[in-house]
């Protein structure tokens, strides 16, 4: 199913660890470049004088050789006030509070004020990007003062943040805008939800991808590919992933924007009965290093290869538990009732149902055979409404809720009595969290539901303790 990977493949796929510049490096480089440019101009001027002097004495045939297709040295070098000729697409400065152009900038670009994080992605333990809305509408940009979508970057695991270019797209509003971000590595990344933008140059430029009117509600990356769920939706305002009735899995090689439907996982719908029109639902992607999984709108789980655009197939061999359907989408596109996540040992599904007294019952099940068979994995703590599900490479499970973050003590599938849960500190945030994800067994990141907190939360000990990282 997966291509064999030898030592050369493994070595080549190792990610580059960014090396931060020393303070003042840019100014030193700028001064050095300026000196060189002055020197080149002086040499060129001297050269031009020689040519002018020579033109008075050389025979005519040399003059004719210079006359066509060649430019006198003086003309090509005297570029005192050159026009900026970069072909990169326009993109806003990283911050609505960027210094005006007549002020000498120094240091990394600042994070724009009031950064409301809507999505986070990490490409290594140290380098991570967040996407969100920042600044004040009407004072953002250029190019558009009312587009305040912003990106911030950390190169030290959340200790500090700096601004970065973001797609020129507004906040989600029906079929337009972006709210989510996923990076494959430091070079290739995608912003989506509902529109799709791609960068292949570390986020310096972002290019819109034509999705033929479909909305991108989920996207994940692995190895050298990106996979995304495109859907036909009619949700309005911030609910871009609401009222979706037709779902298809698309894939592209990294570094190119060649999105194509994945055979076997297209036109997926949720129908209450055969012959009836599909009802609105949601879907979710989860990828491991070898296999991809898609939670379809009718609760089925599909799986397929992730190194190619090869066909996916229905993985579920046993019935879907009653009530375990993805249901409507949350604001970030994630299903509200059933959620899927991968661990290093298998896949986990959370089914949320309403119990007595309105308490949400979060039933978990686990599959160690790629979704073919499932075993009960107990229930998550009852407090709060589940918003996000994640797994660690060593097999533990995390659930973000509207009251905090629940972290399992044991690994899924390791005990017949199911998962048990540890006491978590630092995650009692009013409103809870809208997302939790683990970068490694020990390091993870969570987004608070209250965007006005202008921060994300990190754990560096496997989820036991969480600390706030203000994005500023």
């Amino acid at each position: 199913m997966d291509e064999p990977r030898d030592d050369v493949d493994i070595w080549l796929s190792e990610r580059v660890k960014p090396l931060l510049p020393h303070p003042g490096t840019f100014e030193r480089i700028r001064r050095r470049a300026r000196r060189r440019k002055l020197g080149q101009a002086a040499i060129a001027a001297g050269g031009a004088a020689v040519i002018v002097a020579a033109a008075l004495t050389v025979p005519p045939f040399i003059d004719s050789q210079l006359g066509r297709g060649q430019t006198p040295i003086a003309n090509s070098s005297t570029t005192a006030t050159p026009e900026h000729t970069h072909s990169r697409s326009p993109s806003p400065p990283p911050s609505s509070s960027s210094p005006p152009s007549n002020v000498t900038p120094s240091g990394p670009p600042p994070v724009p004020p009031n950064f409301a994080v809507s999505s986070v992605t990490f490409v290594s333990l140290t380098e991570g990007w967040v996407l969100g809305q920042a600044g004040t509408p009407g004072q953002c940009g250029p190019p558009n003062a009312f587009i305040c979508t912003s990106r911030a970057i950390t190169f030290n695991g959340g200790t500090s943040w700096q601004g970065g270019h973001a797609p020129v797209a507004g906040l989600p509003k029906g079929a337009s805008g972006v709210s989510q971000i996923r990076a494959l590595d430091g070079r290739n990344a995608w912003a989506f939800g509902p529109q799709l933008y791609a960068t292949h140059d570390t986020g310096y430029t972002w290019t819109p991808v034509n999705t033929n009117g479909m909305r991108v509600i989920d996207l994940e990356t692995v190895h050298h590919r990106a996979f995304a769920v495109w859907a036909r939706c009619t949700g309005t305002g911030a609910d871009f992933a609401a009222n979706c009735t037709g779902f298809s899995l698309y894939s592209t090689p990294a570094g190119r924007d060649q999105w194509a439907p994945v055979p076997g996982a297209t036109n997926l719908t949720m129908s209450q009965a055969a012959g009836l029109a599909p009802v609105p639902a949601s879907a979710q992607l989860a990828l491991t290093n070898t296999v991809g999984y898609l939670l379809a709108p009718n609760g089925d789980v599909y799986s397929g290869p992730i190194t190619t655009g090869g066909a996916w197939h229905l993985a579920t061999a046993q019935g879907i538990p009653a009530g375990c359907l993805p249901g409507r989408a949350q604001r970030d596109g994630v299903p509200s009732r059933a959620m899927l996540a991968t661990t290093g040992t298998g896949i986990v599904e959370l089914c949320a149902t309403t119990g007595t007294g309105g308490v949400q019952v979060k039933t978990l099940r686990y599959s160690a055979d790629g979704g073919r068979t499932w075993q009960p994995a107990g229930t998550a703590p009852p407090a709060g409404i589940a918003t996000s599900l994640s797994g660690t490479p060593d097999g533990r499970v995390l659930v973000a809720t509207t009251t905090g973050i629940d972290v399992s003590a044991n690994t899924a599938g390791s005990s017949p009595s199911g998962l048990s849960w540890i006491t978590v500190t630092g995650a009692s945030v009013p409103g809870g969290f809208s997302f939790v994800g683990m970068t490694s067994d020990t390091q993870g990141v969570a987004i608070p539901a209250n965007k006005a907190l202008h921060a994300v939360w990190f754990t560096y000990d496997g989820g036991k303790n969480w600390v706030e990282s203000p994005v500023r």
């Binding site: 580059v16 670009p109 970065g164």
Partner: protein
Amino acid sequence: MFRASDRVAAEELFNACYPRLAGWVRRLVDDDDTAHEIASEAFTRLLARWSSLDNPQSYLYMIATNLVRDHWRKVGRERRALRAVSATVPADGVHHPAQDVEVRALIQALPDRLRRPFLLHYYGGFPVKDVAVMLGRPEGTVKADLHHARARLRAVLGEADG
């Protein structure tokens, strides 16, 4: 000489690209200082001809690739000179902290025709079509060069394992 708007754009590019470029160079050279030197020199050359470039990032990596090659040659000359004057100095007197050393040495041994696309594609992460444009070669040629480079690495690594 360098307008304010250009300066802001250049600094944005610097902030966006320097950490990754320096990290990229770091995998190819022996120490952080050399990596910073090469990355800084690449940016200096970029800024010195800022106005005439369509794809500054590609240009950066091309300069850095050439500077890394020059560094390898210089280090090779120094090592040979050192061995010539002192029999007591170990053959490899330079400390290599990274686990990349063995493969790096193999890349150094690749002919320039194979090494440049290899570094740009696998180390720089540029798609084949971009590498083809940067090197002025057809895509098919670049693909073939990458294939030959990998085959050579595999062959040498296989011999070493055996």
